[in-house]
Symmetry: C2
Subunit: 204 residues, 2 copies
């Protein structure tokens, strides 16, 4: 089946198999439906691929993982979370907060900020989106914090989320000045020590 | 005019003058319209009272001030901001962060959290709401921070807002656990030192 073959007549056992960007679009649509129906933990790559009428290997091909599919299809995040986790682990533990703040701002700035607004709108508008996002962030931050060996990981993860979600709300949604126009390194110096305390410091 | 007099026939120069709770409701409706049209700074107590068809003194009677009217009519905050500012100033400067975190959580917990969701929804849904909220928070936090004598007040105010908005997002909107069910004093110990650094510490 050629990458541009898109005709109904090539349909097989599971119905028409879309090709190239069509596969990606079909997976995005299927993922949104399945994550909404079953939540983050309940959704399986197999169920999403079946609903999209494509092979499960296509999820890895297009999104790297279930996390990547969720991040890009549902949250429309401007990055692949597993690739990002790996990048954030490169460097000293005591500078993890700095790397997270710098990466968060540069990635969302590049994406234009509007995507962060859409993400927050979906969370404030739908109870379910909050649950799904929580499961996702829990896994994302827990993996990072576990790697630096701190105690009370779930609470630390929540505290980190509070600072980073709030930073995004103020910079991209409410657009407070001077923070919205502030240089990324000024914000790294201001915010990173607080994030680092949540990650590895004494939190009471 | 008796407090329960509500008939059209008592109308005078400015039209019917509502009484008691009717006055309050008329002011809330007028405030929402005027703040939306002119923004926080542009809106005057006089313009709002005129639109409501009541005397400007009624704003002070029911809401204490323009800030109080905005907080309760538009943001539907579960407190009067000027009264709160006064309360937060009672105590040592180095414990201001602690008082803010404790007060924020106890007030919003009492209000049920749903009001915080509504507030965030209005901010994420409307560009204008972000501007109006920014002006309001700028004044609220600036007054507090000015009183403790720190430099770079606008940036510090923004940083405080990022932590407090994020705390509300995680506790009341996305409902991350364990933070959502966590005891207020555990959260005060975890978060207050970070807020205090934003208020009076070295932010780079």
């Amino acid at each position: 089946m050629s990458p541009t073959d898109n005709s109904e007549t090539t349909g097989r056992r599971r119905g028409r198999r879309p090709a190239g960007q069509d596969t990606r679009t079909a997976l995005v649509d299927a993922a949104r439906a399945v994550f909404a129906e079953t939540g983050y933990d309940g959704a399986t790559v197999r169920a999403i691929a079946t609903r999209a009428g494509v092979d499960a290997a296509m999820v890895n091909h297009w999104f790297g993982s279930k996390e990547g599919l969720f991040a890009q299809a549902v949250l429309e995040l401007p990055f692949d979370p597993l690739e990002l986790q790996k990048a954030l682990r490169q460097g000293p533990d005591e500078e993890l907060g700095e790397r997270i703040v710098r990466t968060f701002i540069t990635r969302w700035d590049s994406a234009g900020g509007g995507q962060f607004v859409a993400l927050m709108r979906s969370i404030t508008g739908h109870e379910q989106a909050g649950h799904v996002l929580r499961d996702f962030f829990q896994k994302f931050f827990s993996a990072l914090i576990t790697s630096v060996g701190a105690d009370r990981i779930p609470l630390r993860m929540n505290l980190c989320a509070s600072q980073m979600v709030g930073l995004g709300m103020v910079r991209y949604v409410a657009k407070f000045e001077p923070l919205t126009s502030e240089d990324v390194e000024v914000l790294v110096r201001a915010i990173a020590p607080n994030l680092q305390r949540y990650l590895t410091g004494d939190i009471g």
